[in-house]
């Protein structure tokens, strides 16, 4: 297997970038753990905080640790993760729909 050296070198990751991502991820971890540990919110509100901070932290990891963006180097990785999200929505959403429908029909037969 030959490695040509005329390929453009990739964009070098920086310590500053990783530290930025780490600090943001740390804050977004401490917030939900703090609310659960000290129980200062209603259950519904705490679940919303957990969900929102989780989605934000996923974004932080994708941006600063996995370096996803629309640059030439990362474009196909980004497109393929978006496609995977589509597949995920179809499979998870479709299965939930199916389970829910089965559950409702089961209840109808039972009564």
């Amino acid at each position: 297997m030959s490695h040509s050296t005329d390929v453009t070198p990739g964009h070098a990751p920086t310590a500053r970038g990783y530290i930025t991502g780490f600090v943001l991820a740390l804050v977004l971890t401490l917030i939900p753990f703090g609310f659960v540990a000290f129980g200062s919110l209603s259950q519904g509100a705490a679940l919303i905080v957990i969900a929102v901070t989780a989605v934000l932290q996923l974004g932080v990891h994708l941006r600063w640790f996995l370096h996803l963006d629309m640059s030439t180097e990362q474009r196909w990785n980004t497109i393929s993760i978006l496609f995977s999200l589509l597949i995920m929505v179809v499979m998870v959403g479709g299965t939930m729909w199916l389970f829910y429908s089965l559950y409702v029909r089961h209840m109808m037969v039972g009564h």
Partner: protein, 205 residues
């Protein structure tokens, strides 16, 4: 090993995300995303099916989960430092940061395995209820990934020691980097879907 500009350029080119092998590995990770999404779905569906056995609030311990989370998050930073040094051709520093990452990953896995052993000892095994089957299935699959990540780190340290920072080694490190950060990404979903809502049930009850 001397690192002149030519070496650095070939190392950086091999570590690019859009080389065929690195993109191919990314596609594998995307298939793992689908597998994990279905495991999460199974867990959410079964998370209240205790079959008269222990509930989520009974078996989850927030302090331990917090330590595991911190270890894995910190290991993402230390792996990042290994990649920064790879791009600068600093062989010894890459090995040191990989070593730190290994220790943090091993702490995470050791903690998880002792949690599993404790649960099984208490009679809260994966055969006890639908909830525990789904829990061990999901968290165990993630743990298995971490195990193979640790094996991979050892293999890469040996390769760096034997061959130095060659383009093939840099290319493999780029894939291990994707794998390791991906594991941390899945863990965010694990503590947000499994542990925090589980502990919350106990607080509300």
């Amino acid at each position: 090993m001397s690192s002149n500009a030519h070496d650095l350029n070939s190392i950086r080119a091999a570590a690019r995300a859009d080389t065929e092998v690195n993109f191919g590995f990314w596609i594998y990770l995307m298939s793992d995303v689908i597998i994990f999404s279905m495991l999460f779905l199974v867990y959410v569906d079964l998370s209240q099916r205790y079959a008269g056995g222990p509930t989520a609030a009974d078996v989850f311990e927030l302090r331990g989960v917090f330590l595991e989370t911190m270890a894995l998050l910190l290991s993402s930073l230390t792996f990042g430092m290994a990649m920064v040094n790879l791009h600068q051709g600093q062989k010894e520093r890459v090995v040191i940061w990989l070593g730190v990452t290994f220790v943090l990953g091993a702490f995470f896995l050791g903690h998880e395995l002792s949690e599993f052993a404790h649960l099984i000892h208490e009679g809260a095994s994966f055969t006890r209820s639908g909830f525990l089957s789904a829990f061990f299935g999901l968290v165990g699959t993630h743990g298995a990934h971490v195990f193979f990540g640790l094996v991979w780190i050892v293999v890469m340290v040996v390769q760096i020691k034997l061959r130095g920072l060659t383009p093939p080694v840099a290319s493999r490190l780029a894939r291990l980097s994707l794998f390791w950060h991906f594991l941390d990404l899945v863990w965010i979903c694990v503590f947000s879907t499994v542990y925090l809502p589980g502990v919350l049930q106990g607080v509300a009850a």
